[in-house]
Amino acid sequence: MTESRLRKVLLEDVVIFGNEEASTTGAQSIAPDHVARRAYRDTELPARASVRSKMELQQEVEEFLFYQSELLDGQHWQAYIDLFASDGVYWMPVTLDQTEWLDSPSIFAEDKNLMRVRFERITHPNAWSQAAEWSLSHVLGNIVIESEQNDEVHTRARFHVMELRRDTVRHFGGTYHHTLVRQDEEFRIKLQRVDLMNGQAPYDFVLQAWL
C-alpha cells in the first residue's frame, strides 16, 4: 500500500518553477519591498593611475611607502614622525565617506605634537600595556598614483597588518591615501589617511600605535 502511494506521488507531474503567470514570489508576495534599499555602492569610482608613463615617480612613491612600513614595523617612531611635514596629519576616519576630522569623530586624528605624545607614552617605562611582547608586520600593495599637482602627489595603496600582542595575532586591512609634498628633494607626508576595513568591528584590546 505504502509502496504504491509513494510510486504514485513520485510520478506526479508538478513543476515548481517557470510559472510565468505569477508576478510575485515568496517574501515579495507578502511584503513587497518592505525596505527601501540603498543603491549598490553608488559612490565615485576610484581614480585610475594618472601617470602610467612616469615609472620613475611610481618607483619613488613605492620606495617611500615601503620605507614608511619598515619604520613602523621596526618601531622607529621618531623617524616615522619625521616623515611628516610640519603641518602633517595622521588620520584614521571612522567611515569611508568622512571628509574632515575637526567636527566628526575619528579613530586617530593626530598632528605632529599629538604623535609625539603617543611616541613618548609608548616608550615610557611605565606604559604598562607595553609590557607584553608586541610587534607589527606591514605588507603593502596595489600602489597607485592618483594625481600629481603643484608639487603634491596623491597616492593610494592597500595595506595588511599583522599584530602580535602577548600570545595573540590580530589582522588589520585597509587603504592608505597619502598626500605627499616635496621638501629638500624628499617626500614629506602632508596627510596620511588610513581607511581601516575593520575599523568599526569590535576591538579586542585597542590600537596603541599607528598602522
Binding site: 511584503a31 518592505h34 569623530p105 586624528a109 615610557h124 600595556s129 569590535p202 585597542v206
Partner: protein, 432 residues
C-alpha cells in the same frame, strides 16, 4: 558556588565572584535580565522603522521606532521557527519586519501582520488570534530625557526609582544644552575586555589608579603641553584632558565619591571646562539666556567627574561621554562607547566632547589601553590559586552614611567597591 553571604564580606570579596561561570549565569538571571538596562538614545532611531539591535543579558533585542512614534523593544526572534528578524546591527525596516526564512511579517510593535499560506494553520494552535504568533516584547520600556531603558521583567521598581539620584548623569548632560537636550553622534566604538565586567565598574570611580595606571600618557601630554606654552602658544584643551591623569595622589584624594543605593555612584571633581575664551563666553551667555544666571551657574558648576549607573553605565556627563557594558562571559565583556552633542551650542563647544572621545575613548585611546591591560592581568590573577580574597579595606570604617547614601572620607576610599558589592549581594539574593 558558595552562598552569597560567604562570597561578600563588608571589607573583602571572594575571588570567584569575578571568575565563576555559575555566578555569571546567576548575575545574568538576577541582574541583567531583570533590572532596567540601557538600550540607546532616542536620536539613534529618529524615523519610523529605524532600528538598532541591542543585547540585554543573553537576549538579542531590537529597539525600533514604531508607527505611533513610540519606541518598542522586541526580542530579535521570529515566533515561528526562531530565526533572528534583523540581520544588520542597525538600519530601517520600513513598516514591517519580514522573516528571511518563511516570510512571516510583523508590525513594528511586534504584532503579527501576515502569515504566508495561513490556511495551513487551520485547526492548529497557531494563527492570527494567538498572541504567541507575535514577536515577544521586553516587559517594560521607559525613557529618561531621551535615554531608553528596558526591563525583561514585569515587576520591579520604575525606571525613575531604579536610577534614583544617578539621574544626575542624564540631567547634567542635557542641562548643559541651552535647549536641555542632546543628540547622539552616530558612531559606536566597541572594545572587548578580557575580564569580568566588575573590573570596569570599580575602576571608573577608583581615584587612586589614574596617576599610576595612566602616568605614561599624563606625563607625555603634560610635557608637550608645557613646551607649547613656553613657545607662547595656547595648547588645545585636550592636552589638559590627558595631563590631568598624571595629577598627584593628593589631588585625586581631594575628590570624593558619593555611593548611592543600588550600587550607583558619583565621583566628584571638576574638569576645568570653562576656559576664558570667546567660545566659552558665548556659550555661557546662551545658557544664562535659557535658564537665568543662577540656574545656569548651577548647571555649569556641578562638580561631577563620572556618574555610574550600576552595573553597566559609566557617564562623563560634562563631556557627554557614555560607556555601556554588555557582559559576554565571566571573563569577557564588551563595552559600547558613545558620545553626544549638546543641542543648540556652537561647533567649538562640541569639539570639547569630540576630542575627549577621540583621545580617551576611541580605539586608539592612549588612556584605556592601560586599563584594559590591568583588567586582563587582574582577571588572570584572580583565576589563580594565589589567594582567595580581594581586598577593599582602604578607609574601611570611615565612610559616613546619610539617607542611604554613603559618602567616602577621601577620594581614594574603597568605599566605592564596598558599596557596589553591597548592591550586588542584594541583587544576587533576589532581594533587590
Amino acid at each position: 558556588m558558595l552562598p552569597i553571604s560567604e562570597l561578600v564580606e563588608p571589607d573583602r570579596v571572594h575571588h570567584t565572584v569575578y571568575t565563576d561561570p555559575e555566578i555569571f549565569d546567576r548575575e545574568i538571571e538576577n541582574i541583567w535580565e531583570k533590572a532596567w538596562i540601557y538600550c540607546g538614545h532616542e536620536s539613534q532611531i529618529p524615523n519610523r522603522g529605524d532600528f538598532y539591535t541591542v543585547q540585554i543579558g543573553k537576549q538579542p533585542m531590537i529597539m525600533v521606532r514604531g508607527k505611533d512614534n513610540n519606541i518598542h523593544v522586541l526580542y530579535n526572534r521570529c515566533p515561528h521557527r526562531g530565526t533572528q528578524l534583523c540581520g544588520a546591527r542597525s538600519g530601517n525596516t520600513g513598516s514591517t519586519f519580514v522573516c528571511s526564512y518563511h516570510a512571516w511579517t510583523f508590525n513594528l510593535d511586534g504584532r503579527i501582520k501576515g502569515i504566508p499560506m495561513a490556511h495551513g494553520y487551520d485547526g492548529t494552535r497557531m494563527g492570527y488570534d494567538n498572541p504567541s504568533c507575535s514577536v515577544k516584547t521586553a516587559a517594560r520600556v521607559e525613557a529618561y530625557r531621551g535615554f531608553v531603558f528596558a526591563s525583561l521583567k514585569h515587576d520591579g521598581e520604575t525606571l525613575e526609582d531604579f536610577l534614583g539620584e544617578a539621574r544626575i548623569a542624564f540631567d547634567d548632560m542635557c542641562d548643559r544644552s541651552p535647549v536641555g537636550e542632546v543628540e547622539v553622534v552616530p558612531v559606536c566604538h566597541r572594545v572587548i575586555q578580557h575580564s569580568n565586567w566588575k573590573f570596569f565598574m570599580e575602576n571608573q570611580l577608583d581615584a587612586l589608579h589614574p596617576s599610576v595606571t595612566h602616568q605614561s600618557t599624563g606625563i607625555a601630554a603634560g610635557r608637550i603641553e608645557q613646551e607649547l606654552k613656553k613657545k607662547g602658544e595656547t595648547p588645545p584643551l585636550y592636552y589638559h584632558y590627558l595631563s590631568t591623569f598624571a595629577s598627584s595622589f593628593e589631588k585625586w584624594d581631594s575628590v570624593q565619591t558619593v555611593n548611592l543605593p543600588l550600587g550607583h555612584g558619583i565621583l566628584t571633581g571638576y574638569m576645568g571646562l570653562r576656559p576664558d575664551d570667546q567660545d566659552t563666553k558665548e556659550y555661557v551667555q546662551a545658557m544664562y539666556k535659557a535658564y537665568g544666571e543662577e540656574r545656569a551657574e548651577e548647571y555649569l558648576g556641578r562638580s561631577i567627574h563620572h556618574v555610574l549607573v550600576y552595573p553597566y553605565l559609566s557617564v562623563q556627563s560634562s563631556l557627554q561621554q557614555l560607556r555601556c557594558l554588555r557582559p559576554i562571559s565571566a571573563n569577557k565583556t564588551m563595552s559600547e562607547i558613545w558620545h553626544f552633542r549638546l543641542k543648540g551650542v556652537s561647533t567649538a563647544i562640541y569639539r570639547r566632547s569630540l576630542w575627549y572621545y577621540n583621545l580617551v575613548n576611541s580605539p586608539s585611546t592612549m588612556v584605556n589601553a592601560d586599563d584594559l591591560e590591568n583588567w586582563a592581568r587582574g582577571q588572570r590573577g584572580l583565576e589563580s590559586d594565589g589567594g582567595d580574597w580581594v581586598s577593599f579595606h582602604r578607609n574601611y570604617g570611615s565612610d559616613t552614611i546619610e539617607d542611604g547614601v554613603t559618602y567616602s572620607s577621601t577620594g581614594m576610599s574603597e568605599g566605592v567597591m564596598r558599596s557596589q558589592f553591597s548592591a550586588w549581594s542584594k541583587y544576587m539574593e533576589g532581594s533587590s
